[in-house]
C-alpha cells in the first residue's frame, strides 16, 4: 500500500493501469486529457504493457474497445462531454453486445458555446444506452470504483459496460491523497478477465447478425434483468472491497447523518461531497437533515429511494436538466415514489455550465425547501423569477 497525492485524472489512470486491461483505446478531450496522458506515461515507463491505441475519434475509441472486448480482452477508455456524445451510437452497441468495457467520463458542459466546466448533461443523455452509471465525489472513490467496476462489469450475471463519472476540474484536476493498494492485492481482488465467449477461429460465431423481434426483445429484457441484479451486486462488491481495504464509499447511495433525519438531501458527485458541509451546518442549527449521495444512477435504486421517502421529506439538487421536463434525478425519484410513498419532494436545478455550488448555497436550497418557500416543486436556484 502507498499513498498517492494527485489529481482525479492521474489517480484514475493509476487505477486503470492496475486493473490490467489488455487494450486501452482513447482520444483526448479536455478535461479528460491528463487521464490518457497518465496512461501514456505508464506505457513509456513500462508499468502498462497492454495495447494503447491512440485512435482518431471517440467514436473509434469506443469501437476499438468493442472489437478488443469481443476478441476477449479487458478494455478501458475515458472521455468527456462531446466525446461521450460522439460515442453515443457505440455506447448502445457495447451494451447490447454485452461487453464489460469500463470507461471514465469527466462530466463537462455540452456546447455551444464552448465551456469546459462541470455539468452532467453529457452522461445523463446516455442513461438509456444500457450502461451502468456510477458518480464519484473524491479521488479515492474514483480509484476504488474503477477497480470495483471491472469486477462488476465482468460478473457473469451482469456482463454490461460501466460508466464512471466525476466532475470536470472540481475532481478531475484537484489533487487529493488516495491510498493505492499493492498490485498483488488488486490482482487478488480482480482476477484476470475470463469471458464466456469471444471471437475465436476455432469456434467461429457471427456476433451482431440480423435479428428478429422474437430474439431482440429477449436481449433487451436480459439487459434490464442484469441491471436489476447489479442493484444487489454493487453493494456486495463495495462490502468485499471494504473487507479487504477498509474503505466503503456506499453502494447505491452514500448516506450521511440519515438515521434520525426528517429531511434528506439527495445530490450526486461533487455537489454530493459539498453537501456534507451543508448538512453539518444545518445540523448545528438544529435541523434534522441527512444526505443520501446518489452513486449509482443506472441501475436507478428505486427501492432505496422509496425507503428514504418513507422516512423523510426529500430535497433534490440536479446538475442537469431534461429541457422541457425537469432535472433528471428529481424526475426519476418522483417516478420511483409513485404509489409507494407520498413524501414531499422539492427539486433544485443548480450548477449548470459549471456554476459553483458552494455549501452555503446548498444550505439555502435546503432551507427554502424546508420552509416551503419554493414556488414550484422544482426551481432554478439563483434565478430571481423562481424566488
Amino acid at each position: 500500500m502507498s499513498v498517492m497525492i494527485n489529481t482525479g485524472n492521474y489517480i484514475a489512470a493509476k487505477a486503470a493501469v492496475m486493473a490490467r486491461p489488455q487494450v486501452v483505446a482513447a482520444y483526448p478531450i479536455t478535461p479528460q486529457t491528463t487521464l490518457v496522458e497518465g496512461i501514456a506515461n505508464y506505457v513509456e515507463n513500462g508499468e502498462y504493457t497492454g495495447e494503447y491505441i491512440c485512435v482518431e475519434s471517440e467514436h473509434s475509441a469506443m469501437t476499438a474497445c468493442i472489437g478488443a472486448s469481443e476478441a476477449g480482452s479487458r478494455t478501458f477508455t475515458a472521455t468527456s462531454s462531446h466525446g461521450l456524445l460522439l460515442m453515443h451510437e457505440m455506447l448502445h452497441w457495447a451494451a447490447l453486445a454485452r461487453l464489460p468495457i469500463v470507461m471514465c467520463n469527466i462530466n463537462r458542459v455540452v456546447g455551444p458555446g464552448w465551456n469546459i466546466w462541470s455539468d452532467q448533461n453529457d452522461s445523463i443523455a446516455q442513461r438509456d444506452t444500457g450502461w451502468l452509471q456510477i458518480y464519484c465525489s473524491s479521488n479515492q472513490e474514483i480509484f476504488d470504483t474503477i477497480i470495483q467496476s471491472f469486477k462488476l462489469a465482468e460478473n457473469k450475471k451482469i456482463v454490461l459496460p460501466v460508466l464512471i463519472n466525476y466532475d470536470a476540474f472540481i475532481i478531475s484536476h484537484t489533487s487529493m491523497p488516495a491510498s493505492i493498494p499493492d498490485q498483488e492485492e488488486i490482482d487478488d481482488f480482480l482476477p484476470s478477465f475470463n469471458p464466456t465467449w469471444k471471437l475465436d477461429v476455432d469456434n467461429p460465431i457471427a456476433h451482431g447478425t440480423i435479428i428478429g423481434s422474437q430474439y431482440y426483445e429477449k436481449l433487451r429484457r436480459a439487459m434490464h434483468d442484469a441491471q436489476q441484479d447489479a442493484k444487489k451486486l454493487i453493494p456486495k462488491i463495495a462490502n468485499d472491497w471494504e473487507k479487504q481495504f477498509g474503505r466503503n464509499h456506499g453502494g447505491l447511495f452514500e448516506k450521511y447523518n440519515c438515521e434520525d433525519a426528517e429531511y434528506i438531501l439527495i445530490s450526486m458527485a461533487a455537489i454530493g461531497a459539498e453537501s456534507k458541509v451543508a448538512i453539518d451546518n444545518l445540523r448545528k442549527q438544529g435541523i434534522k437533515i441527512g444526505l443520501a449521495r446518489l452513486r449509482t444512477f443506472r441501475p436507478f435504486p428505486s427501492e432505496e429511494v422509496v425507503a428514504l421517502g418513507k422516512q423523510a421529506e426529500l430535497i433534490v439538487i440536479d446538475r442537469n436538466i431534461s429541457i422541457g421536463s425537469e432535472g433528471v434525478m428529481f424526475n426519476e425519484i418522483k417516478s420511483a415514489l409513485y404509489q409507494q410513498s407520498d413524501a414531499k419532494v422539492t427539486g433544485f436545478i443548480a450548477g449548470l455550465g459549471g456554476k459553483d455550488v458552494p455549501y452555503g448555497n446548498i444550505e439555502k436550497m435546503c432551507k427554502k425547501a424546508i420552509q416551503g418557500k419554493t414556488k414550484n416543486h422544482q426551481m432554478w436556484f439563483g434565478f430571481k423569477e423562481d424566488d
Partner: protein
C-alpha cells in the same frame, strides 16, 4: 495457378442470403479461400450483413464481428490489439466493407487505422452504390448513373479512393475485380503475407443496382476492365504495377474499348441513350476515363 488449384475449404457456405449473381459473395468466397481459417472478420452495415443470414444462423465459417456503418476499421484495430495481446500474431484481421462504408461514412476510421499502421487487411467491395439500403448514390457512383437519389443521373464524378489510400503509403494496396477470381486470389494471398495495413478494392458489379441480368456479373466486371472504366493494379511499398489488360492499356499496347460498350448494357445509364442520346454527358464520361489513364501513364508508367 488455376481455379482448380484453389483450396477446397469453403468459408462462405450454402444457404446464405445473397442475391443471385452477387459479386460480393463470389469475391468473399475467393478471399476467404486465400486467407484461410485463421481469419477474424469485421463487417459494418452493408450487403454482407444480410448475406450472412439471420440470427441464430450464419453462413460464414470464420468468426464475424458485425459493427456500425462507419466503424469497420476501428473495430478491426481493437480486434488486432486483442489478438496481439493473446499472442495470436498469425491471425488475419479482415475488415470487409462496401463502398458506402469505405468512401463515405467509414473514411475517417479507415484513414486513422491506416495511419496507425494497423496490421490488418481492409477490403472494399465496390458496387458503386448503397445497394443494401436500396440503390442510393455513394462517393463511388460514377457520373451519369441513375440511383434512387440521383434520379436523373449522378452529376458528379466518383472520388478516386485508391489515390486517397495510396497517400497513406501502405505496404500493400491493390485493385481487383470480382470477375477475375484468380487475380483476386493471388492479390489476397500476397497481401496476407505482408505485415501492416493492406487495402484491396474489388469491383463488384451489382445486378439489381446496375440494372443488368444476374447471369452477367462476370461479363460486366470484365467489360469495366476492357473499357478502362476500372484498372487492375498493385501498389507494393508505393511502387505501382498494373496487371492483366490494364497493363496493356497503360502501356498503350491495346486501346481500351469505348466506355459506351460498358455503360450501354447497364439499365442505370439507360437515360443517356433513350429516348435520345445525351452526347454531352457521354463525351464527358469518356473524357473522364481518358484523363484518368493519362494521369496513370504520367505517374506509373
Amino acid at each position: 495457378m488455376a481455379l482448380k488449384d484453389f483450396p477446397r475449404e469453403e468459408y462462405v457456405l450454402q444457404g446464405n442470403a445473397a442475391c443471385p449473381g452477387c459479386p460480393a459473395t463470389m469475391a468473399l468466397r475467393t478471399v476467404l479461400k486465400a486467407l484461410g481459417k485463421k481469419t477474424v472478420m469485421v463487417v459494418p452495415a452493408c450487403c454482407t450483413a444480410v448475406i450472412q443470414s439471420l440470427y441464430p444462423k450464419c453462413s460464414f465459417d470464420v468468426p464475424v464481428m458485425n459493427i456500425a456503418f462507419e466503424a469497420c476499421a476501428a473495430g478491426a484495430s481493437g480486434i488486432r490489439a486483442a489478438l496481439d495481446q493473446q499472442g495470436k500474431h498469425d491471425h488475419t484481421v479482415l475488415a470487409w466493407a462496401g463502398d458506402g462504408g469505405t468512401y463515405d461514412i467509414g473514411i475517417q476510421a479507415l484513414s486513422g487505422a491506416l495511419e496507425r499502421q494497423t496490421n490488418f487487411i481492409y477490403i472494399c467491395y465496390n458496387n458503386q452504390i448503397y445497394s443494401n439500403t436500396g440503390i442510393q448514390r455513394s462517393g463511388a457512383t460514377p457520373k451519369g448513373a441513375w440511383t434512387t437519389t440521383t434520379v436523373g443521373g449522378k452529376k458528379e464524378f466518383r472520388k478516386d479512393m485508391s489515390e486517397i489510400i495510396r497517400a497513406h503509403h501502405l505496404p500493400y494496396a491493390a485493385q481487383a475485380s470480382a470477375s477475375r477470381p484468380l487475380d483476386l486470389f493471388e492479390k489476397v494471398k500476397k497481401a496476407k503475407d505482408i505485415k501492416g495495413p493492406r487495402y484491396i478494392e474489388i469491383l463488384a458489379p451489382c445486378p439489381p443496382g446496375w440494372r443488368f441480368g444476374m447471369e452477367k456479373t462476370v461479363e460486366m466486371g470484365d467489360l469495366a476492365i476492357d473499357t478502362g472504366a476500372y484498372a487492375l493494379f498493385e501498389s507494393i511499398d508505393d511502387n505501382v504495377v498494373f496487371n492483366g489488360k490494364s497493363k496493356l492499356i497503360l502501356e498503350e499496347k491495346i486501346k481500351p474499348k469505348p466506355i459506351e460498350e460498358w455503360i450501354k448494357i447497364q439499365g442505370r445509364f439507360k437515360h443517356l441513350f433513350y429516348p435520345k442520346r445525351d452526347e454531352k454527358c457521354l463525351a464527358e464520361i469518356q473524357e473522364h476515363y481518358d484523363q484518368m489513364w493519362d494521369r496513370y501513364r504520367k505517374e506509373y508508367l
